[in-house]
């Protein structure tokens, strides 16, 4: 794509400045990760405008400093000069700059509006996690949660809804955000161009655990995505595991769904392929055995406000079996 080339030139200052500014910085949440066309366009826009802003700021400061230092010799001449300053600096210059910027932005918006999507994913904001549906409204409709995988190079239309409060769906590395508003369906087009694991963030304050409402977005080659997508439709892998009984007797199934088992709760995240995900607790923790055990027993220490009840009194043996089972849900 053409953006790649100009993007590189304009991102030069970033490449020079970044190592200095951001030693040890993770790019997973950065607008500058350059993983989507939207983010690349905004990044280019940002560098141009930010440089312009710094230049204009310096010029205005220099002008003010000079004005403060100068004592007029011929007051009439100076006053004429001052009036010219107001006319050109205060009126004509801002008009020219903002008009140019506005036309540019309008063309960008137009381009975004005309773009077509290769695939559709529905995302519903929940307190405080994400319900993700692939191929919504079709035969192949499959529900998952808190992790989205996308094939690189294909554009995706996200259909965004919410049933509780307002959330906002934002994957900074890919592009801009759009709110999820109860009673409405909004949409957002993203076009990932760089493979990697990126972080999605809820950008609208949605109460209690808003800060810990994250999402993992993995952009991968088309064939990997296809394989993963086929696996996603499969029912639970370990239906004969003794942990399933524990899962059901402790009432987990009232909130969580495990496709192919009696657990069909709709309140909490779908868990059919839990262990295949890379994160836990809506994008905030690594998917590891010990963390998962901790999550079940000390849920509220890890994510204050979370609606899932903790199970601190689960006997160690039972916890072990349950975690075994969950970790087998590949």
């Amino acid at each position: 794509v053409a953006q790649g080339r100009t993007g590189f030139v304009l991102r030069l200052p970033a490449r020079v400045a970044l190592p200095v500014l951001l030693a040890g910085c993770s790019p997973k949440t950065s607008w500058l990760a350059g993983a989507g066309t939207g983010a690349l366009e905004t990044e280019r826009m940002m560098w141009i405008m930010l440089s312009g802003a710094v230049l204009i700021w310096a010029a205005v400061m220099a002008l003010a400093f000079w004005a403060a230092r100068t004592n007029p010799e011929d007051p009439r001449k100076t006053e004429a000069l001052a009036r010219d300053l107001v006319r050109w600096g205060g009126l004509v210059f801002p008009i020219a700059v903002v008009t140019t910027l506005l036309i540019w932005a309008l063309f960008m918006m137009r381009g975004a509006a005309d773009a077509r999507a290769d695939m559709v994913v529905a995302v519903e904001g929940e307190q405080w996690w994400w319900r993700v549906t692939y191929d919504p409204g079709t035969e192949a409709e499959t529900v998952t949660a808190n992790e989205i995988r996308l094939p690189v190079g294909q554009s995706v239309r996200f259909l965004l809804t919410s049933d509780d409060v307002i959330h906002s769906f934002w994957v900074p590395a890919l592009g801009g955000k759009t709110d999820m508003i109860p009673g409405r369906e909004t949409s957002l087009l993203l076009h990932p161009v760089r493979e990697g694991a990126w972080t999605g963030i809820c950008a609208e304050y949605c109460g209690g655990a808003h800060a810990q409402m994250r999402l993992e977005v993995i952009v991968e080659p088309a064939e990997d995505f296809a394989a993963w997508r086929a696996g996603l439709a499969e029912p639970v892998a370990a239906a004969d595991h003794p942990g399933l009984d524990l899962f059901l007797t402790h009432g987990c199934g009232a909130c969580h769904t495990l496709r192919g088992t009696p657990a069909n709760g709709q309140v909490g995240p779908e868990l059919t392929h839990l262990a295949a995900r890379t994160t836990l607790g809506a994008g905030i923790l690594p998917m590891e055995r010990e963390v998962l055990a901790d999550w079940i027993t000390h849920t509220h220490d890890l994510k204050p406000g979370v609606l899932m009840p903790a199970y601190p009194d689960l006997p160690p043996q039972a916890l072990d079996t349950l975690v075994d089972f969950l970790m087998a849900l590949e």
Binding site: L21, A23, C25, S26, K28, T29, S30, W31, A39, M49, L50, G52, A53, V60, M61, A68, N71, P72, T78, E79, R83, L85, G89, G90, L91, F93, P94, V97, V98, T99, A105, L106, M108, M109, A112, A113, L160, I166, S168, W170, P172, A173, G175, G176, K177, T178, D179, I181, T186, S187, I201, A203, Y205, C206, G207, A209, H210, A211, P304, G305
Partner: protein, 851 residues
């Protein structure tokens, strides 16, 4: 053209004995009460001081909230604040800074200096100022105090439903926020009315609009903005509280409501609010710059036009807070363009300041230092504002720390630093003592450095993806170093503020008085003698220039010798001259009331109404409301529109002025008019809700809900219009001395108001419309409720006038009460007509499925 001032008699020869006697009488009339009665004071310089102290106390509280947040965010996964507490703290920070500091500080400074800049001895409604101040303090303490009991509001200062509309989501804190702030908004509007009338009617003789100092222009513009911006929020608050308390589903999508309605109402308030904060501070800069440049401001009229331009534009760009809500591209483009356009008038103002500095010979001092710092910070904030106003950029930046950085650059640069400049500049005016130049420089450099260290990195934090309103983040996010730097900066900024506060409050008993007009300024407030006198200005001069102390030679001495108008208080009353709002012609002498506790009691009772309503103690609420009305009637009865003992008064220089006015000449008529403009704006907020729902429903009116009975509505309208006509007839009959007939007309008006209102209520009730069933029926009921509440006041007015007439306070010559009541009734007729059209006519005109 002969000027009025040339037709005045020459001043009498100076008589030291008379001067002394006049000064004594003035001092007696304007004496500030002492002891515990100090709190009954109403004069602008006392109330202004209270307002300043109150605003800065809330500022310190809001700043403390900021430091708590910065401490929590200094390191990742911090447990200094819990999630619950952090959510309350950030909500309170925004709320306190916006509602309890930024707007009140404008009112504080304006109440303090505006009359003196205008050469007036007070504002036209001193008791209204006290009332507003007391409302502000009671409401503010109530809202802030909630945090101490762990029930602080936690829905964000923007209070978006459904988070804020569901009692399951947010608890008592939201009710405290909604009702406490509605109460504070009453105070803001009261002050706005006071200041608008002050600028329009209490200018010195001869001060035509074109001679008015820039500060006053800004006050006028901002007062007008408050009048149009706050009422939509009050309407929004009403809808939200009705949903919380009574389940009227305005924002519930399951019952036809829409959460976005709140966002529109909130930001129709919220964006003008930003300029309501910004313009008064620019006004301070516009006052300071000419003084220190020692030349008049260049481009005076350009600045006035720019201020008016910003005010207009500010009402047309609220949607730029909603770019991410998925609105259609065409509206995004429109609001993006309007947002960009603000850069133009702002640029003009800034370049006028720079141009003035260029023309003049600049003298540096601490106020100028703060002004320069303000410029450096604000210009950068303005430039990032140009960035975030572009939709594609905003979709990334929105709700990130980039926006946190941007808004603090504009508000701290555009509002806070100028306020500090103003505090420094006017401190000698208010106290006759100077602040320390050395401490001032320390305060400035600590604050300037601290500010930039705190907020410059935040742009980058936002670019790195940190969203707003998060109480924690993880090490892996990579935001640690940036946050630590910001925290260090925040504490440095706070240290600078502490230095400034210390300098202001340190005892200065042994410090000498400053010299008179310490900055050699050109505006009238510096004509005050040192040490200052409670009456403000010794005699009220004719003004023929923009900078009278520079351009009218010998003016100071003439004022001091009492050669100008109203140099005496023969009757021991507080008096001021009211002038024509266009050309500054003296119209009459207004007697303003002195110290009283009545306003304090009225404010406390009104506070009780709001506080009881928060806890849903409805009986107590209604009882407090009745007592509030009684207290206000008591205040009005004893304090306003008393027929004077003589029709005119000699004010000096051969001029006699009336002691009473009614109708458009009077200040009361204008206050009523302006109040009702604000009131109608709130009403239009409700009308907006009606049309908003019309645009989102596929079928209008929604099927199966029923409609109000058109016949009953028509009957109600006819009765209310007749009641309004009866009021108008009462005015005419009274003027023709047909007092009995006038009283009869007043009684008829009251008698028609009751069945007229009931007609509207029954039209809905009789048809079984249930406000909890659907947003449409809730909207219909809220319009009727609005009309009904206003009719309660409307009913009291003719009864009040009958009582005044019977007691001899209302006569054919002295009819201000009656004319103001008739004016109110005109607005009621308009309200009733609009409600009728919305309920009885439009459902049929707009009916059927949407095209």
């Amino acid at each position: 053209m002969t000027r009025e001032v040339d037709e005045l008699d020459p001043p009498p020869p100076y008589d030291p004995e008379l001067d002394r006697a006049q000064r004594e009488r003035l001092a007696a009339a304007w004496k500030t009460p002492t002891g515990w009665r100090y709190f009954s004071a109403v004069n602008n310089s006392v109330v202004g001081l209270w307002y300043l102290i109150g605003s800065f106390a809330f500022f310190a509280f809001g700043g403390l909230m900021a430091l708590l947040m910065r401490t929590q965010l200094a390191v990742p996964e911090n447990d200094f604040l819990s999630m619950e507490l952090y959510n309350q703290v950030f909500t309170m920070h925004g709320t306190v800074m916006m509602f309890l500091f930024a707007v009140p500080i404008f009112e504080a400074v304006a109440i303090m200096v505006l009359p003196e800049i205008l050469g007036a001895r007070d504002l036209p409604f001193p008791r209204l100022s006290t009332f507003g101040f007391m409302c502000f303090v009671i409401g503010g303490v109530f809202v802030c105090g909630s945090l101490l009991f762990g029930v602080g509001p936690d829905g964000g200062w923007f209070m978006y439903p459904p988070l804020s509309s569901s009692e399951a989501q947010t608890g008592l804190g939201t009710d405290i926020w909604l009702l406490g702030l509605s109460f504070i908004e009453v105070a803001s509007i009261a002050a706005a009315i006071e200041l608008i009338v002050g600028v329009l009617k209490s200018r010195p003789p001869g001060m035509r609009l074109n001679l008015m100092p820039l500060y006053c222009w800004y006050v006028l513009v901002v007062g007008g903005m408050i009048l149009f911006a706050f009422p939509p929020l009050i309407a929004g608050d009403l809808l939200l509280e009705m949903e919380r308390a009574f389940h009227w589903p305005f924002f519930d999508p399951d019952k036809g409501g829409d959460p976005l309605l709140w966002q529109h109402l909130f930001w129709i308030f919220g964006h003008p609010e930003v300029y309501i904060i910004f313009l008064p501070s620019i006004a301070i800069i516009a006052t300071i710059v000419p003084t220190f440049a020692r030349v008049p401001m260049i481009g005076h009229s350009w600045i006035v036009l720019s201020a008016v331009g910003v005010a207009f534009l500010s009402f047309g760009l609220w949607v730029h807070h909603m770019f991410a809500t998925g609105l259609p591209g065409i509206s995004l483009a429109f609001f993006s363009a309007a947002s960009e356009a603000v850069a133009i008038p702002t640029g003009v103002q800034i370049f006028c300041f720079i141009g003035t500095i260029l023309v003049g010979r600049l003298r540096m001092s601490v106020p100028m230092l703060f002004a320069a710092g303000a410029l450096a910070i604000f210009v950068f904030g303005g430039l990032t504002g140009v960035m975030v106003a572009l939709v594609p950029f905003d979709l990334q930046a929105h709700d990130t720390y980039f926006v946190v950085a941007h808004l603090h650059y504009t508000l701290i640069g555009g509002a806070l630093f100028p306020v500090f400049a103003g505090v420094w500049y006017w401190y000698p005016f208010a106290t006759d003592k100077a602040l320390s130049e050395r401490l001032g420089k320390w305060a400035f450099w600590l604050m300037f450095t601290g500010f930039n260290v705190a907020f410059l990195p935040m742009h980058w934090t936002g670019i790195q993806g940190m969203p707003r309103r998060v109480w924690t983040y993880s090490e892996a996010d990579g935001w640690t170093a940036l946050n630590m730097i910001s925290t260090i900066g925040a504490f440095t900024l706070a240290a600078g503020f502490v230095v400034l506060v210390y300098d202001v409050v340190r005892p200065k008993k042994n410090q000498p008085y400053v010299k008179r007009n310490v900055w050699d300024a050109g505006t009238l407030e510096w004509s005050e003698e040192v040490p200052g006198m409670p009456w403000g200005i010794r005699s009220i001069p004719y003004i023929g220039t923009r900078y009278p102390l520079w351009e009218q030679k010998g003016l100071l001495e003439e004022i001091d010798r009492g050669e100008w108008l109203l140099p005496d208080a023969e009757e021991g009353k507080r008096e001021m001259i009211v002038t024509d709002l266009l050309d500054g012609r003296p119209l009459f002498v207004q007697r303003v009331p002195g110290p009283t506790f009545k306003t304090v009691i009225a404010a406390a009772l009104l506070g009780a109404v709001f506080i009881f309503a928060t806890y849903h103690w409805w009986t107590a609420t209604i009882a407090a409301a009745v007592l509030t009305v009684a207290a206000i009637i008591w205040w009005l009865w004893t304090g306003t529109a008393h027929p004077p003992e003589k029709p005119t008064k000699y004010v000096g220089r051969g001029m006699h002025l009336p002691l009473y006015a009614s109708g458009t000449a009077s200040v009361g008529w204008w206050a009523m008019f302006i109040t009702m403009v604000g009131d109608m704006t709130a009403f239009f907020g409700l009308v907006f809700a009606y049309f908003f729902f019309w645009t989102i429903y596929p079928e209008w009116p929604p099927a199966g809900l029923g409609l109000p009975h058109a016949g009953w509505l028509a009957a109600g309208l006819v009765l209310l219009l007749a009641a309004c006509a009866a009021m108008a007839a009462a005015v005419r009959l009274n003027r023709k001395s047909r007092i009995g007939a006038a009283r009869l007309a007043l009684a008829a008006s009251a008698g028609l108001a009751v069945p007229g209102t009931l007609g509207f209520v029954w039209a809905c009730w009789g048809e079984g419309l249930n406000p909890t069933e659907h947003a449409f029926t809730a909207t219909i009921w809220v319009l009727v409720l609005w009309l009904g509440l206003h009719m309660l006041v409307a009913l009291l007015m003719p009864l009040y006038c009958i009582a005044r007439s019977l007691c001899g306070y209302l006569t054919p010559e002295y009819d201000a009460d009656l004319r103001n009541s008739a004016l109110y009734w005109n607005f009621m007729a308009a309200t009733a007509l609009i409600v009728f059209l919305l309920l009885a006519v439009l459902p049929h005109l707009l009916g059927g499925p949407m095209p």
